[in-house]
Symmetry: C2
Subunit: 261 residues, 2 copies
DNA sequence: ATACTCTGTTTATGAGTTACACAGATACGC
DNA sequence: GCGTATCTGTGTAACTCATAAACAGAGTAT
């Protein structure tokens, strides 16, 4: 179940209302010294510089020159702040010029999302749930994805499925990239490889061992060169496969039409 | 960069050594009252029952009838315990009978991974990084994935890419499912939908709005029936597309061979 | 003017990880 | 056998966090 999400009087999660600029600014009290924008901006700066774990209410408040508790006048919990950060970090342009060919369009779209994730990869550590889906940049992203798929003979549900799958692939590959990067490439020294080879034997893992030996699966000591063994190939491969799969589906649909409403 | 990972004298991360049963049991002191297995088991029980957030060193120790600090004789940090939990939760059988046809084999393989993830979905909240890759069940999974791809005309690097992409899809869809489930379906009441419709207009989001209106994208109030609107379709769609993409790639390779070593 | 409401602050609580020092248990070297 | 080094589980305590509660003052509506 999970704890309840703070909602406004419209029934929308507060984070959603804030992100869409729908929160009513109070009239009566003293004028405010802070704003959601400034708070979220400060939090993002910290996350960029020192990682999401360094984003504490105290750190954010301090960087703004306010006390910790003052933030709670703008945000009802840290979770809410994280949602606002996630949305703000994933900036997607409202207007996006997409190529006519759907393949190209999908590539451009995926690229835009990828750039957004990569520029603030900590945003992926914040759970994406029903709240995130209603946030402005998520909505913008979905709109563009559907635009790219416009001419494909798919049902609405299928189109939504496709953009979900693709954006998940993008998110997954960026996340992998990030995790490999910041767990600080565990270069296994020669002695470690020897120890492992006593449990990872060809008899127990007949398909894996040959691949490991021929490739750079385990980097024995040699510090993995970043640019060389990045996961761009993994991103490209996945996208290529998905697009090729869609082409096949398109072919099939053209021969065997389905009511796409 | 991230903090350093605790390693043994072989240079392997301690979690890896423990999981493979390579840690040397001390000789001299009093006999041990606990074991890694019992600790990890207790932690998993808690995670299953109350979620990963409920797994605190204190909770685990208490459920075993020991003090919090006693755990640190077995595990050098909470992070290490989490890695052990992740591996133990993702139990993959060492032997797995795969169909001859690679398409079927991939489906079976993906299904096995999916079942593992689903049975302890909190395991997905633990970052998968270079350490995870060396853990026994990860190695087992990779081995089976490569077995499924045995007959495809791909290079080793491509095969690794494919199993990465697929397992990422599986992980992503289970994670989505979990997040939707435990953020407790934010059913937006009618008033909220109305508020949203003032910012999510057909003019600003021409491709999205029609889809939303025709489908069940936003569930307005009506409590979403679990079984109905699950994300099985999303999982299936992604897997279908990837497999269709691989078929296309196979075709192309058979006509235009490449040295797959 | 007066009452109401909102501001930012101070203070305090409770949960969490983990360092450190201790008393006792156990096996190894002689 | 005996001492010694080593390992056990425990108690205490330091430190970091999120956040509840009460408060004094600022600004607006009546």
């Amino acid at each position: 179940m999970g704890d309840m999400v703070e909602t406004t009087d419209t029934g929308l999660p507060r984070a959603v209302a804030i992100a869409w600029g729908m929160e009513e600014v109070p009239q009566r009290g003293p004028s405010r010294g802070l704003s959601h924008e400034r708070i979220v901006g400060a939090a993002i700066e910290i996350a960029d510089a020192e990682g999401l774990a360094a984003v504490t209410m105290q750190a954010v408040a301090k960087s703004l020159g306010f006390t910790t508790m003052s933030l709670y006048r703008y945000v009802s919990s840290k979770e809410e702040l994280l949602w606002l950060m996630q949305d703000a970090a994933l900036a997607i342009p409202e207007k996006l010029k997409l190529p006519a060919d759907w393949r190209e369009a999908l590539r451009v779209w995926a690229g835009v999302i990828r750039v957004a994730y990569r520029s603030h990869s900590w945003a992926l550590d914040i759970p994406r749930g029903p709240v995130s889906v209603l946030m402005p940049n998520s909505v913008r992203g979905a709109n563009h994805g559907l635009a790219a798929l416009r001419d494909l003979p798919l049902t609405n549900d299928e189109k939504i499925g496709v953009i979900l799958v693709i954006s998940q692939h993008v998110a997954g590959s960026v996340e992998l990239e990030q995790n490999l990067a910041d767990q600080g490439v565990v270069a296994v020294p020669a002695e470690g490889v020897k120890a492992l080879s006593e449990v990872i034997t060809p008899e127990r893992f007949p398909h894996l061992v040959p691949v490991m030996e021929s490739g750079n699966y385990i980097a024995d000591d040699t510090p993995v060169i970043e640019s060389d063994h990045g996961i761009d190939p993994e991103y490209d491969l996945g996208l290529d496969l998905l697009i090729a799969g869609l082409e096949a589906m398109e072919q099939q649909r053209r021969q065997n039409p389905v009511d796409t409403e």
